[in-house]
């Protein structure tokens, strides 16, 4: 297909969902069926256009050197114009495949999942804008429009996390997500203006594929005498955006709370799109990291933060009970894997894991939504049959009607939560302690969740997660333990431990949710979800199993031969993004053994603890016996720390600033000046009365007193003072005479 056509498709690809948002918000917001149909069709249109582009470029070997796209002038700046545009390069192309596919499946899932929600159309409006923004971000050929869509996604995620806005926990989580990511966004904004000021452009290709520009940035010392290069500082500032959006320590705190949103949103935000966007941008700027120095500050920072976050998330996930929160911390941890990989220079491995993770984590979130849905259903079935008396004063409507719309509220009640009358009966359908034995009740959900879980754990050979995690291990091992790079060695060790924990908490989650016997009546009466929800699970499960085959090392025993010429497709494809092609690593059995060992070891540990002795109703979870349980359960107390050292002091300043400074100091001084001035003016007034007669109006006097003063300065030039005074007097007189008579 001609490049012009592809460029047109790139311009058009983000539009359908954005238009769907506008149409739903303005016109069809009262028509549920119409709205969701519009949203899904728009997403499919976007998918089709993206796929056409992807399948036209996926075999182009030099796409990174010559991305396809077009530009228009957007921002006039003096003699020049800042261009914006769209482009597809290898990294963007892989996202053009993954993002619309995942989004479409999530849209279809939402039709079933949100079916009973009263604000169904609003949900699809936000979801569409979200998807359109992510598409816009993917096709952007410059940092400015990437940032614009990045922020729009931030707004959508704020709106969707706070979708159940009547619930305090929901809107608090929304504000927290917005503000925490905004910290990163401010750094990103600074990085952007810095980059723009230094290079005069924000086009990715012009900056990141030009040796000249990169060398210049590397040779320029950073502002403020920080002792690093401009390239290093810009990379760090831009990485700040990644830290916020991809929930890396120390800005990771928003993501777990963001689980307040409806579950499809979690899949969208926390797997396929928004958090991926952070890594996507980091990978885009990878050449800048390289330019800032192989062992420079920027690389070290990225590697350390990634590794620490991977470990932090994995440890916290071990001690959570909320099914979605386990996944949330798992996401934080897995994103840490990718960041750490980027930090040790494993560009392809990071991109690979980003892709596989998007599929299996979206699957896990959607499957967990299905679980919650089923348990909710079981709970309502039970409470309706057995405890109907309790629901008689719930007010608006019977449980059987709006039950579906409530599954995201931990208490199982809608706006009435806040009355407290139901709190005694609070049932949390997301608490894994309330589950168990769902395997037989929800077979499709179980199998797909199992596939997603095994992929997350990195179960050898048959799951995508194994291949991508193994790739990271291979790189870290090679650089760290073969070549002797300290950072890479550290990253390798931390990631190995984290991967072990990952496999363990995954097994714990699968066992607590699906295996053993039901621990509550609700779990015993859970039902499988509707086909519109299970279909996306099945499709995603296929990808969670097989997407790993896009990047199998050619010399990997058996599998390398199996894929033949398709080996290292991803690596060969996206390597042209970099100026220097990454050196191919020879196959090394040691990291593979580590990879297999920690996956199977963690799963086995989970098996011994949770499958051999399934948790019984009322029984304490074995992890609570760990001495660090409270520390982990409370997420290492980061939230409390931030509240103490940032939020509370700032709040105190805000609450008192206006009263103390504005009223207490500034106005006092000015009032003092006024009192003094009034006294002086009075003196002038006495003087005036003697010297000049005629004007006696207050304002006239005011100006004339000035005129007298000025006369000493410039004799005979008082006309305009008088003129000003006159106009004032006349104006005031006119209005007093005519208007307020």
């Amino acid at each position: 297909m001609p490049h012009e056509t592809l460029t047109t498709l790139l311009w058009l690809a983000p539009l359908p969902p954005i238009l769907a948002f506008a149409v739903i918000a303005l016109f069809t917001n009262r028509y549920r069926q119409t709205s969701s149909t519009i949203a899904v069709l728009a997403m499919v249109a976007s998918l089709v256009m993206s796929f056409i582009v992807f399948f036209n470029v996926w075999q182009m070997k030099d796409l990174g050197k010559k991305p396809i796209g077009g530009q228009i002038g957007w921002l006039p700046t003096g003699e020049t114009v800042l261009n914006i545009g769209v482009a597809v390069d290898p990294l963007g192309a892989t996202f053009l495949f993954m993002v619309p596919l995942a989004c479409t499946l999530i849209f279809i899932y939402s039709v079933g999942y949100m079916a009973a929600d009263p604000r169904y159309t609003r949900f699809f409006a936000y979801l569409s804008l979200f998807a359109g923004s992510m598409m816009g971000l993917v096709v952007s050929d410059n940092l400015l429009t990437l940032f614009i869509f990045w922020e729009l996604m931030g707004f959508c995620s704020y709106s969707l996390i706070g979708f159940f806005y009547q619930k305090p926990s929901a809107y608090k989580a929304a504000v927290k997500a917005f503000m925490t990511t905004r910290v990163g966004d401010m750094l990103l904004l600074l990085g952007m203006v810095y980059l723009y000021a230094e290079t005069g452009t924000l086009n990715f290709h012009a900056i990141l594929h030009s040796e000249e520009v990169l060398n210049k940035l590397a040779a320029t010392p950073a502002v403020l005498g920080l002792g690093i290069s401009a390239a290093g500082l810009i990379a760090i500032l831009i990485f700040g955006g990644t830290v916020g959006k991809s929930a890396q320590w120390p800005l990771h705190v928003w993501l777990p709370d963001a689980m307040e949103g409806p579950t499809p949103v979690s899949a969208m935000i926390h797997a396929a799109t928004m958090v991926s966007a952070g890594i996507f941008m980091l990978l885009r700027f990878f050449p800048l990291l390289v330019a800032s120095g192989e062992h420079g500050t920027a690389f070290t920072l990225v590697g350390l933060i990634g590794a620490f976050t991977a470990f932090l998330g994995a440890t916290i996930a071990v001690a959570q009970y909320d099914i979605k929160r386990v996944l949330a911390f798992s996401t934080i941890s897995q994103l840490g894997f990718m960041v750490a990989a980027a930090g040790i220079g494993a560009y392809v491995a990071a991109a690979f894991h980003l892709l596989t993770h998007a599929f299996f984590k979206a699957l896990l979130f959607l499957a967990s939504g299905s679980v919650i849905h089923g348990v909710e259903h079981g709970h309502h079935h039970v409470s309706h049959a057995g405890h109907s008396g309790h629901s008689s004063h719930s007010g608006q409507s019977g449980h059987e009607h709006d039950g579906h719309g409530r599954h995201d509220r931990p208490n199982g009640h809608d706006g009435h939560d806040d009355h407290g009358s139901h709190d005694a009966h609070a049932f949390d359908p997301q608490d894994m302690r309330n589950m168990g034995g769902l395997r037989s009740r929800m077979p499709i959900t179980f199998v797909t969740f199992l596939i997603g879980g095994l992929a997350l754990a990195g179960f050898p050979f048959i799951t995508a997660g194994f291949w991508s995690k193994d790739e990271i291990f291979a790189d870290a091992y090679y650089h760290g333990l073969v070549k002797g790079d300290g950072l890479a060695a550290l990253v390798f060790l931390v990631l190995v431990v984290s991967a072990l924990l990952t496999a363990f908490y995954t097994m714990r989650q699968i066992a607590m949710t699906f295996l053993g016997q039901p621990r509550t009546e609700a779990a015993a009466h859970a039902t499988e979800s509707v086909p519109s929800m299970t279909f996306p699970l099945i499709v995603l499960a296929v990808f969670a199993l097989f997407i790993g085959f896009i990047n199998i090392p050619p010399d990997f025993p058996v599998f390398g031969a199996l894929v033949g010429g398709g080996a290292f497709w991803l690596k060969n494809f996206i390597a042209s993004m970099l100026l220097e092609k990454p050196e191919p690593l020879a196959f090394n059995i040691v990291p593979v053994l580590f990879s297999i060992g920690v996956a199977l070891g963690g799963l086995a540990l989970g098996w011994f603890v949770y499958v051999r002795n399934p948790l019984q109703a009322g029984q304490t979870d074995p992890v609570e016996k760990l001495p660090v349980f409270n520390f982990l359960y409370n997420r290492w107390y980061w939230d409390e720390l931030y509240r103490k050292i940032f939020i509370n002091p700032l709040q105190a300043i805000a609450d008192n600033y206006a009263r103390v400074v504005d009223k207490g100091v500034i106005d006092r001084i000015l009032e003092g000046g006024y009192a003094l001035g009034a006294r002086v003016t009075k003196g002038f007034a006495e003087f005036d009365r003697v010297v000049i007669t005629g004007f006696s109006d207050a304002v006239g006097r005011f100006f004339r007193s000035l005129g007298d003063w000025g006369r000493e300065l410039q004799s005979g030039q008082v006309q305009n003072y008088l003129l000003s005074g006159l106009v004032m007097v006349i104006a005031i007189l006119v209005f007093f005479l005519f208007l307020f008579q």
Partner: protein, 529 residues
Amino acid sequence: MNLLNTNLLSVITYLPLVGMLLVLVTPANQTRLIKWGSIAFSLIPLGLSIAAWAGYDRTVGGYQYLESMVWFPQINSVYKVGVDGISLPLVVLTCFLTPLAMIFSLNIEHNPKAYFALFFLLQTTVLGVFIALDLILFFLFYEVSLVPMYFLISQWGGANRRYASFKFILYTMFASLGMLLAIQVIGLASKSFDITYLESSLGRPFTGNNQVEFFGWDPTVWKAIAFIAFSIAFALKIPIWPLHTWLPDAHTEAPTGGSMMLAGILLKLGGYGFFRLVMPLFPDVFSQPVLPGLNVFGAPLNYSVLLALLAFLSILFGAFAAWGQTDFKRLVAYSSVNHMGFVALGIASAGLALTPNSTVREIDATIAGSGAVLQMVTHGLSSAAMFALVGVVYERAHTRDLTKYGGLWTIMPIYGAVLIFCAMGSLGLPGLSGFVSEFMVTRGAWSVHTLLTILSMAGLLMTGIYILKAIQKVLHGPLGEEWRHHPLPDMNFSEILGIAPLMGAMLVLGVWPALALNVINVGVQGLLR
């Protein structure tokens, strides 16, 4: 039609006076006629201002639609008007906001005749400031614009209106005194009040042949005095911390339409004054030290740094103050201090480039200056919208106390959506116009005042907090007990009619900023040459 060809700006400016006269001759009991008639009439200047916009030749730039008449020969003052790329957007903004502010004044019950007459007078005086190219003319319009605003606050304002209106007029008039003096000195030095002449290298006050020595003081001293006098007058209007304390009182007490004009237009007089007078008349003062020997971080503290520092403090403290408010309107009022700080930051950055042989690159200064002008326009849109929305909910709930609202989105779905849209515009969400201008100011200022730009980001961060606080307190949470039994109606047709153009303008300028920047850019480039 000949009049339109030769005197378009004067026609635009004085048409509202015709409107005022029409209102005054309409019987006072015809309130519907007065209100809707005024709105309809105010569309004429809007149409003409758009025509002026369309007809402005951006390839040539400079002042266009010039008119010049002998006016006050005794003191060398002429009636001279014209617009360039800096004033034209503000003329259009004024004509755009006036009918919208009038729509949000439809609920005025007390003496609407006087109210709408004053509104027209306000429009004329503000337009006069933007088109004036003579210092005396400029000052006249500038001062007279206070009068209608004073009455709008004192007659139709809230409970504390006397104090607020008095504070407003006294502060502003007091700050103008210095400017008046400075205008006199400039007139004596350059023997002219013609701004185009004063801007030229020949007419620039206190340079070349225009050096004066009063009291035996050096011309540079007079230059500094005049610079400071102008700067204080305009800084108070913008307003820049710590000269801002009149603003929360005046904005909060003014009626909704008055607040919209005050925040939307009158604050812009300050920023405009810097662009029209301070920067071209005193191009080299920005780089001069405030006090010899006073250093900050090893560099001498010059006027540009001082202004940027105060801009940063405005951004920071404006955000803190807004965050701490429990009165919805006061929160929005303080948000102006926060946002207008970016105008000041842009001015400080662009101003430094004016000094001959400045190290500031022209591109940085152009972007900062254009960003500051655009910020004036976008803040005009978003703050007017926010005040309008405060008015909508106040009229229904009869309270501005944020702690008393809650969950209103459930019963006012349209209002909720509109409020979120406009609040996001105010927050600077990309896709809406506020982002573009803040981005440009940040970009331009980065190269000039790096550290202060970085610090200002802390203020921008907190912009998010107070905006989200407002949204949350009004819309989110369970529906307040009071409103369960006393339901509040959603926005009505005229309110939607009044807010929709603001939303549209925010969106259009956010998506396609070149629409405004094509003209602004030309104006700022002309200034910097």
